[in-house]
């Protein structure tokens, strides 16, 4: 394991079992994420990728294994507010305006009003929502809401950004636009990102590395290094290398037997 301090997340021997003798969600996961990396976790539903993300964020506790974030146990990292999190749903509070939603973590950090206002202004500029500070979340479109959610996660400059299918509920056009925007933000802020998705092309387009997970129990089935040049643009999606990498990830996914498992899962769900 690297101990040179460049590792933001270091996962060793991680397993997760839900319930007593219940479902094994994750098995023997080892994963290192270096500073400044953009790592996607991809896999079929039921592969535990969201659970893995929540364990890194100390929202769910692992059954076995260690998670080190910024050189400290995940719990300590959470208490130090080392990461920002973005869910598939924007999880904005209706009673707060856009500006106050973004300022929420800053309030918890005890920042004074002037400092909060300045940061909120910067964040709105970053996600291109200047002028919407006084709106309430339900007055915004889904894509705009998710941008507020990203601004909130980045407002306190966490070293690590955890994203759980943040664009999964959006239409294709919005999703592609926000992909580009996220890459710009990532480049501007220099943060490290762990990104859960079930879209192969999204994973390849965004990431420096794609971690392919197998289902039930979730394991790391393969890692694809994405050597597409930075910065990526809309044209990146048309490069031959992009298609090669998409194919590589797809084959890696199929090798996990994801298709059959998907069907088995569906059948199980029907029985249950």
């Amino acid at each position: 394991m690297s101990a040179d301090g460049s590792s933001v997340v270091s996962i060793t021997g991680l397993s997760k079992v839900f319930g007593k003798g219940g479902v094994k969600a994750l098995q023997e996961i080892d994963l290192e994420v270096e500073r400044g990396e953009f790592v996607s976790l991809i896999g079929p539903s039921g592969c535990g990728k969201s659970t893995l993300l929540r364990i890194v964020g100390d929202i769910v506790e692992p059954t076995e294994g260690d998670v080190i974030v910024n050189g400290k146990p995940a719990r300590k990292a959470r208490l130090d507010r080392d990461y920002g999190i973005v869910f598939q749903a924007p999880v904005l509070y209706d009673w707060r305006t856009v500006a106050k939603n973004i300022a929420l973590p800053l309030e918890m950090l005890g920042w004074d009003r002037a400092r909060r206002a300045e940061r909120v202004r910067d964040m709105l500029e970053l996600v291109e929502l200047t002028g919407f500070e006084k709106h309430h979340p339900w007055q915004l479109s889904g894509g705009m809401q998710q941008r507020v959610s990203i601004a909130r996660a980045l407002s306190f400059s966490p070293a690590l950004l955890l994203m759980d299918e943040p664009f999964g509920a959006l239409d294709e056009m919005t999703r592609e636009r926000l992909n580009l925007e996220l890459l710009r933000i990532w480049a501007e802020t220099g943060s490290t990102v762990i990104f859960v998705t079930h879209s192969i092309s999204e994973a390849v387009f965004l990431s420096t590395r794609v971690v392919v997970m197998s289902p039930r129990p979730g394991r790391v089935a393969g890692v694809v290094h994405v050597d597409l040049s930075q910065p990526r643009t809309a044209a990146t999606r048309e490069e031959p290398r992009f298609f090669e990498l998409v194919t590589e990830v797809r084959e890696s996914l199929h090798a996990t037997g994801a298709d059959e498992v998907e069907e088995t899962l569906a059948a199980e769900d029907e029985i249950a």
Binding site: R54, V91, D94, M108, H136, W138, Q139, M144
Partner: protein, 272 residues
């Protein structure tokens, strides 16, 4: 970025608003006309069953001293009971939501207690507080308010989207912060719908409580003694006063709700 923004409906012209109210006003006028002429003259409804509207209004004017004094006494009982009962219910709900095992243990009894016809205790509370004490009626009103407010508030405090709580956890929020910034604001719509119900119940509790004792000038006693003296117009006038008080009480709570929940989509979309 092109953004579709749904804004609240602009406040409509006064004329349009008045036109919307026309049907309701017409029905109201027809109702009064039927009361005044159709019931006594066409259907031959006797005076002791329902006096003419004009007679009730006459009694309202002639007896306004008596009625206003009674209304004031009963209103104090109702508001006192409402404040005590709802206040206690909200405090207990907060405690039960904070220490869930308590809540889970007590909840079935709370729901059962909610179904008890509390008004049946009215004669007994006189034995507790003395026949002339206003506290027996305040107690009835308070107990009537207590359970619906408790059950609804508890439901509001506990049915919060789990991701909202996960998000707060990621900010290392204390339990107190979770309550202050998430649970309490998101419970407010539940609390207010319960308070509106409670305002009606408090008025019922106070008036019915009057029938069993307490000050001889209270509004319930006015209804009762006027019936005993066959002065039906006065009874109906007192009932009319009680109804107006009930509606005003309800409207006051609804007004506070609109003001407090001005952020809520359902309130804000109605336009101001």
């Amino acid at each position: 970025m092109s953004n579709s923004v749904s804004t609240s409906a602009p406040s409509r012209r006064l004329g349009e608003r008045i036109r919307e109210w026309v049907p309701a006003i017409v029905v109201f006028g027809l109702g009064l006309a039927a009361w005044q002429w159709f019931l006594p003259d066409v259907l031959g409804v006797e005076d002791f069953l329902l006096p003419r509207f004009s007679d009730v209004v006459g009694a309202l004017v002639d007896e306004h001293h008596l009625l206003l004094r009674g209304a004031w006494i009963t209103l104090k009982e109702a508001v006192g009971g409402f404040v005590l009962g709802s206040g206690a219910a909200i405090v207990v709900a907060l405690v039960l939501a904070r220490w869930r095992p308590f809540g889970n243990a007590l909840m079935p009894y709370m729901i059962a207690a909610n179904a008890i016809p509390i008004i049946a205790f009215a004669p007994i509370t006189n034995a507790w507080f003395g026949l002339l004490s206003p506290w027996s009626k305040v107690t009835i009103a308070a107990v009537l308010c207590f359970f619906p407010v408790l059950v609804n508030t508890l439901r509001g405090l506990t049915s919060v989207d789990p991701e909202s709580i996960e998000l707060m956890r990621s900010y290392a929020a204390s339990e107190r912060d979770v309550f202050r910034r998430v649970r309490i604001p998101s419970s407010l719509p539940y609390v207010f719908s319960a308070l509106k119900v409670a305002s009606v119940l408090a008025m019922i509790g106070a008036v019915v409580g009057d029938y069993f004792g307490g000050s001889l000038e209270a509004l319930g006693i006015v209804v009762l003694s006027a019936v005993n003296l066959s002065r039906y117009s006065t009874s109906w006038a007192a009932i009319l006063v009680a109804s107006i008080m009930g509606i005003a009480f309800y409207a006051t709570i609804a007004g506070i709700e609109r003001y407090t929940l001005s952020w809520h989509p359902s309130v804000a979309r109605r336009g101001s």
